[in-house]
Assembly symmetry: D2
Homo-oligomer: 363 residues x 4
């Protein structure tokens, strides 16, 4: 009801404010007996963390996690896993001057109106720092998917007007982590980074897109009608701060094909039914069909520009101000593990939900 | 868990197969004492119904609804409302030859794999006929929104490569229902209809986009973090058959703006805080900010082309076949009320969920 | 949120008013490919139905059910099953004189206060006629349990001050349906029926208890902490009209044993671990342990006595009145299938919820 | 789905193992702007805590809580509140010898069978130590109820065969905290304590009942049909370890009254409608009617007796053993705040759920 829990079977409840004591999550529904891959948790925290490169905010969080429950002798118990990261390098004083200002395109105004109170320090609960919780939960989801042989790889596919032209099938996705922008095409990556540096120099920010490819999902995941696998992926992505668009398979471009061009023809391939093309993006009728699931997510340029801005104060007066604080000129490279984490949670949720149908007492 | 219920506070459980006895919905959470606008229910059923024009399938359903519960002397009781439409003009024999064929880009294959059984007649539960349930529930949601002074208007904004160029703010949305394609620009509507007729003549199908504009939503609806108003709208739209993309506010196009161009500056307008621009699409931090909410939904061309096709049978053999049955060459005009219905349900759900915060014992 | 849905994995949404068009339920989560036992549905409807014997109300409903969705060629599809019974013998005029009176110990007053409107005819939604929906859903749950070899048998164990003295393990539960009161001890049954007839003659009503025994539940069903199997059974029983007490295993009597007397000692029985005694009632830590689950439910005497009564009107005036209508002097025999239905739903819900743990990718 | 979350609108997710790092809870749905009563949290933790008196286990936990999120400058933010207590005095070595033994009437066996793994130290997640989470969440619920003028008072009404004879209306409930057993009748309290000491001396344990009285609940809380206020209270109580019975209002005793004796007659009292008697226990049709809500909960004697016992090992061998560790001879006094906490959560949940109906756009 209150919107801080995601997933029905693999259920994650996020908590924490940006400058409060901690950010964390309770995962309810993680399978028991799973060896916890502490390295994986740490790796994704580092991929998301600020201060990785000169492209990102200089807030310097060690991002050390603590597991408070649900793990015993290195294995999951099947009980709720509470895992958290303490906020250590919060510089709340940076926000003192913003206490009474509604920053443009931030959620200061809507939080204040909705709740009648807000923690203005670092954006409080509206801060993208909340996504630490998602990365923590996503790491557990990824452990399950790894065991099942499923891979998830996200990457930056566009920054401002600079786009990858190759389809994912032609890219070497292993190159993604080879550069700070997480773009699998090294040359394009370089151009993107230059554009970000230019924006940074002028106190401006850039948006773009992140693409994601998921391989080896079994046939049959996803619920028909409202909880389609694609619908849950769309919600998952749109729950990430700054997301303005979602495109699955052929997406918006597919609207310009005719049915005869768009239909994915089935064929049998050594006993397994496949489609020759994959405009459907691996999902038909809300249910995975065994093909690659791929999608693209649009991120607007982040709102915390460092140029002088106009706005109104909480008492409705016109104000001019400049944001200090430490902010990313382009959030995209740090959002890559967040996109992966949310996708992983959706998949594991539907894996578990599909378990009922695996029992088949009437088959 | 099983994906046939939508909404938490205004909760709709859909049931029915295309050629089964009926399609219907149970609405749990509709406010009591509401005079039921039977005309509105009927009007939206007619807007969604097949056989409206030569553009749409010739299946001829009277679409007469029956209310089984929850309404007494013309008013809602606050108890569950079950409302249904019986399927009358189902021609199941049209589907006999398709019983053992997996139609390309349909969900025959994934349903069969997931459930081990399917009602092949008319596509069974995967049929877009399921959306009758959504239109029925959406009508009740619209009644609540009307009382609150909120308007929802969807319209066709693109068919194949033919697009509206005007932004919604420049359009006369009252023109939407003036033509069979539900496009508010009459000239463009004509071009769209011609394109559909050409496709129809060759047994082909066309996709496109539907845009939707919602006005006068109060500030404060939507839950932060996972159940953002935009996230729930994204899920709602992606739960509609054939949807491949969703774009809120500035959407994918907004990724090509810089932060300094994209930020929506606040100003006070006679005591009310507004934004000068609305790239945010009326939602900030997942919460409505009082501006217009607008979004765009991509629909792929429908899969039921009437040309000869290849596929495999349920026993994995290669087959050639041609779909008979009665099918739309372009689903977009009939999907307009479905988009509105899903949007209305999301809004009412968040209206009711926000009620808790209105009590304010601590204010 | 609105309390008309029961169960998370096997999820049943009830609808209908006593004198409205129909009472029904949507079952979401029934396994696919299950042959529907129409006889079982009918049998339980007949066991619940009014007019079975001179002990029960003379309202005469044929109780013919109609399945609107989810069943194809006699088998479940895995899609939502909507099943309903139309109300035919409603005599709403019997209730005209009660329209403005709050009947003592009925829910007229609380419904009116909560919703500001109510369907007074036959008690509307508060009527025990709503339990038709539960019996319908319970029948589907029973079909699954039968396939799994699990039996559920409820019976009347007390009417007013007349109690069975034998523990369930000594009774011949097959005798339950041999008499109109559904008491497995024929002599006691006779005494009970005489007491009911005496009450009936004076326009009075009697309460009592129903006991229930469930055999062959596998080890491991039930969720720890809040959704304990016993907690969900308690809720299920307390959701039935007129229930005032619930007692599992040793129950209230067990509070007078010492720990050394109450503990159930484990022993190995040919490879299977059993307990020598069963004070736990088949559930430990909220999880089934493989022993018989047994419990007892207290029903107050029904409120619709046929003697003159005092109350207040909706306009707060003191009134004297006598209920006409057709009412049971003792609701217990008709409540036996309702207790079974609710228990069956709880069990199937936890069977399905436990499915996730059966997958064991990490075992 | 996984049973570690309680409540729909006021939603509490519990985490933690007895000898793990911490026990805690995330509360989602607490109203914003509420001044946090830190004293109240502390007081209830102390009432629940071990080592309070010679009656209770000597485990000595300081029970210092830490709030990780959701509170800013002493007030709630409306965002999730994570609050936890670290486990400090865990003596896991006490449990080494029990690692491979299924203790009688504990959940060792069922947890192991369900999950294939368990944290045996201190009973892990099955330990009553989990109720720390409930007391923490309940304290926040109590703060809301206090503001609304609602009081909740639980007390020990029976230990073994020693019962209070007075109805709650005759008791001075303010005496409850005057003695270590939390019984409002000082003389009876003394007898109860003597009985516990005798049991303790022989390594035995005693059960009993806790009663609870809730005053000044407004009319209209509770959802009809499945989520009746009484049904949710029954579930709440049965979710507490060792509970075997629940009795609302007249309860099991009421089954021996006739309808003419049991009916609660309405009368007008200076403009407010009341009932002359209150056999209904303050709830009619699942909805509060403004009268006192009162109920009784049966607790079996705790399973951890200190006498030699028989059981089987995890490898199915017969074993003899004696539990060491620190255990309560009678859990009842420490369970009093737990009963209150669970009741408070149910009430606040339904208070918030009823908020929707308070908006009344159609009134």
């Amino acid at each position: 009801m209150n919107g801080n829990t995601f997933g029905k079977a693999f259920s994650c409840t996020s908590f924490g404010e940006s400058h409060g004591p901690a950010i964390g999550v309770v995962i309810d529904g993680c399978l028991p007996n799973m060896p916890v891959d502490f390295e994986l948790i740490n790796k994704d925290l580092q991929r998301r963390k600020p201060g990785q490169s000169k492209l990102t905010t200089s807030r310097n969080e060690a991002e050390e996690f603590e597991i408070l429950s649900g793990v015993f002798e290195g294995k999951t118990l099947g009980t709720p896993i509470c895992i958290m990261v303490r906020n250590k390098d919060a510089k709340s004083s940076d926000y003192d001057s913003l206490k009474d200002i509604y920053r443009p395109s931030h959620a200061d105004f809507t939080y204040q109106e909705k709740y009648g109170i807000r923690d203005h320090r670092g954006g409080g609960r509206q801060s993208a720092r909340e996504t630490v919780a998602r990365v923590l939960a996503g790491a557990f989801a990824k452990m399950i998917l790894q065991k099942l042989g499923i891979s998830i790889q996200a990457y930056v596919s566009q920054v401002h007007t600079i786009e990858l032209n190759q389809a994912y099938t032609q890219l070497d996705l292993d190159q993604t982590e080879s550069n700070a922008i997480r773009c699998p095409e090294p040359n394009t990556a370089k151009t993107m980074m230059e554009a970000i540096e230019v924006a940074q120099a002028t106190g401006d920010t850039l948006g773009g897109t992140i693409s994601c490819v998921i391989k080896h999902v079994p046939i049959g995941w996803g619920s028909p009608v409202f909880d389609k696998l694609n619908a849950d992926l769309a919600k998952a992505m749109f729950s990430i701060n700054a997301v303005k668009g979602f495109d699955l398979g052929s997406g918006f471009a597919g609207t310009k094909l005719k049915g005869s061009q768009h239909n994915d023809v089935f064929e049998d391939n050594e006993g397994t039914i496949h489609t020759k093309t994959n405009h459907s993006g691996g999902i038909q009728g809300g249910i995975s069909n065994g093909e690659d699931i791929y999608f693209k997510v649009a991120f607007k340029p982040v709102a915390s520009i460092l140029q002088p801005q106009e706005s109104v104060s909480t008492s409705h007066e016109a104000v001019k101000f400049t944001i200090a604080g430490r902010h990313d000129a382009c959030v995209l490279p740090r959002a890559v593990p967040i996109v992966e984490a949310m996708a992983a949670m959706v998949l594991v949720d539907h894996y578990l939900r599909n378990a009922m149908l695996n029992m088949q007492p009437f088959a």
